[in-house]
Symmetry: C2
Subunit: 353 residues, 2 copies
């Protein structure tokens, strides 16, 4: 069989520091489980590339990586070089949209060894998934300015929800909820304030729920839902949300487990018409870039999700066990109170895998 | 001098239970400080009224309360009777918009005696304001459905930001930040994903910042900002946000202080062209309505903010001290681990005032 071809796209800032550790661990797991992988290093999709060429990616980016089995992605963004909306819309958001990665799956889990910022919570209390719509909704560049530059200036921003786009991510979330022991699905909404799209979103969720009588469905407005992440995190099992609300919940959830430095994500095209993309939830963190202390665990865990999606459950499980063990016994990076470097964490996890 | 005329609008659910306690304490403070108040009880702006009449408010609602000094408001919403977007858009959101209450000021504070869900935080660690834009932004009923009811259905939701509307709330927040000891202002944004309105919002914040060199300004994307409310709540002083982001942050902030049952809000028209509106952040809570155990402190604290805005700082301070003392020594409602009723809390606070 042909080796898996994986595009390695470190991007900016600490993306460049954590990526080598991700590749190291994925490669170790591949060796152990006899998986042939060919890593294809990509130097575009970075603000440095933009500084050299004037755009974030070459015009033939789809041809270059569209046939790969997956994209392993670090982080993009360096506001001092390129405005965020330019760098992100020119790379990450393009991948998500043009490769139709409509599910952004983000596990939220409290690990032994990681101090929880919530008082009295134990590992096991927090263990759920955020399923985020990833291609439409609030993230658009539709709209514009009128009376620009004057006192009368008005800015319109449009959100776009399609039935196809909404139903497919709801279906993914309902299926995931049904496959789990608790079978609970929380639907994030804001239909009391956002008066066109969100009441419609609620209707689509209600319609989908009729096909899943065994799933316990619970709709919650995003404001109180965020509050409950802090006050009652144990009540969540699967949470499905629009692009923006999923973005918020998938930073907040990991924060409630101690750090967003651990949180991975899988940008999935479940039909496999295009490669899926696996990346940490954290960003490029210009403030700590170059110090060699970024926590690579989110990158490594994202690699585990990649192997799982590509059919290698055992390799995924081995990496996850190695992460668990490392968090319990150390070494740890400074964000978790340790003194280890990025590379030392990678080496420790590789060792166990 | 003429007495202050205050419209008392309990609304739905626990709004009806906490309002009498609010009025009781405001009245007590007024007696003590020699403030003449005339309370005007309003039975509309409720789902019951909607069931009787088919609308949330009478057509002459502006004439009825537009000349009052303030609106004291409980909570609206009873989804089993009237869909939320109908009940809210027909009452609360109408007040905010038509009375141009463009600042929604929401204090976030950790009190002695309230168990903090965040490990190791002390009273004093969390003490900041969310300044929420309250009349425009993401809360609109602009947009619509096309290809309705078919597989091709598309829904557009428009957000609207005006320069006037944005600048005036930013100015309020910069002024508030400048008046405080730490002079720190956090601007919530999401300009990396929401590509039209939020980059523009950032520009307006940058422009305003040039007029306030003494204010330390910090822009943060809403996702990481929510995470930091949990991980580093002590770093916030004043946070300014759009309508939706302010809604989220002003539920999340209070959750980090233990309960949204305490959080008050002031919907301000700072120019006093129209009455301002004072209401708890919590909703009508159908699940606990009728049990007589709703915590009235958010309602009472909102009453204190009302007296403050109307020029009675000493009355505000007396109520706040009474709240502090009650939280420290009890009695407490069940949400805070006590067994007291709504009325017992009101009586205890009235006693101290
Ligand atoms: C009830 C709802 C429309 C309202 C809002 O979202 O503004 C509430 O959550 C609030 O924060 O005052
Ligand atoms: C960088 C940014 C555009 C991105 C997003 O908002 O989607 C990030 O926050 C994420 O969650 O992946």
């Amino acid at each position: 069989t042909k080796p898996l071809k994986i595009a390695v796209i470190p991007g900016d800032g600490i993306g460049q520091e954590v990526m080598p550790e991700g590749v190291r661990v994925v490669a170790a797991a591949a060796r152990r489980f006899g998986i042939a992988i060919e890593f294809d290093p990509i130097e575009w999709a970075s603000c440095d590339y933009h500084e050299r060429t004037g755009s974030m990616m070459p015009s033939d980016w789809k041809a270059q990586v569209g046939g790969h089995d997956a994209l392993y992605f670090g982080a993009v963004g360096w506001p001092a070089k390129v405005p965020d909306h330019v760098s992100l819309w020119g790379s990450l958001l393009k991948f998500r949209r043009e490769f139709d990665q409509y599910v952004n799956l983000r596990p939220v889990r409290l690990f032994e060894g990681v101090p929880c910022p919530l008082a009295g919570r134990q590992p096991g209390d927090i263990d759920f998934f955020v399923v985020r719509e990833n291609t439409e909704g609030e993230y658009t560049n539709l709209g514009g300015r009128i009376f620009e530059g004057t006192e009368r200036e008005i800015v319109i921003q449009e959100s776009v929800f399609s039935r196809r786009g909404t139903d497919r991510v709801l279906r993914y979330a309902f299926e995931l909820a049904r496959s789990r022991q608790r079978r609970q699905l929380t639907v994030a909404t804001k239909s009391n304030g956002i008066a066109i799209s969100m009441p419609w979103w609620d209707e689509r969720a209600d319609a989908m729920a009729r096909g899943y009588p065994e799933v316990i469905v619970d709709k919650q407005h995003i404001d109180i839902l965020c509050a409950r992440f802090v006050l009652q995190p144990q009540r969540f099992d699967v949470v499905v949300a629009s692009n923006l609300f999923g973005d918020i919940l998938s930073d907040l959830g990991p924060a409630c487990t101690g750090t967003i430095g651990l949180a991975p994500s899988a940008n999935l095209n479940p039909e496999r018409n295009f490669p899926s993309l696996f990346e940490p939830v954290h960003g490029s963190a210009p403030d700590i870039f170059g110090l060699g202390i970024a926590n690579p665990i989110a990158m490594i865990w994202s690699g585990a999700l990649m192997l799982q999606f590509l059919g290698h459950q055992a390799a995924h499980d081995a990496i996850l066990r190695a992460i668990e063990l490392t968090l319990k016994q150390g070494p740890l990076t400074p964000d978790l109170g340790g003194t280890a470097t990025t590379a030392q964490i990678g080496a420790a996890i590789e060792e166990i895998v």
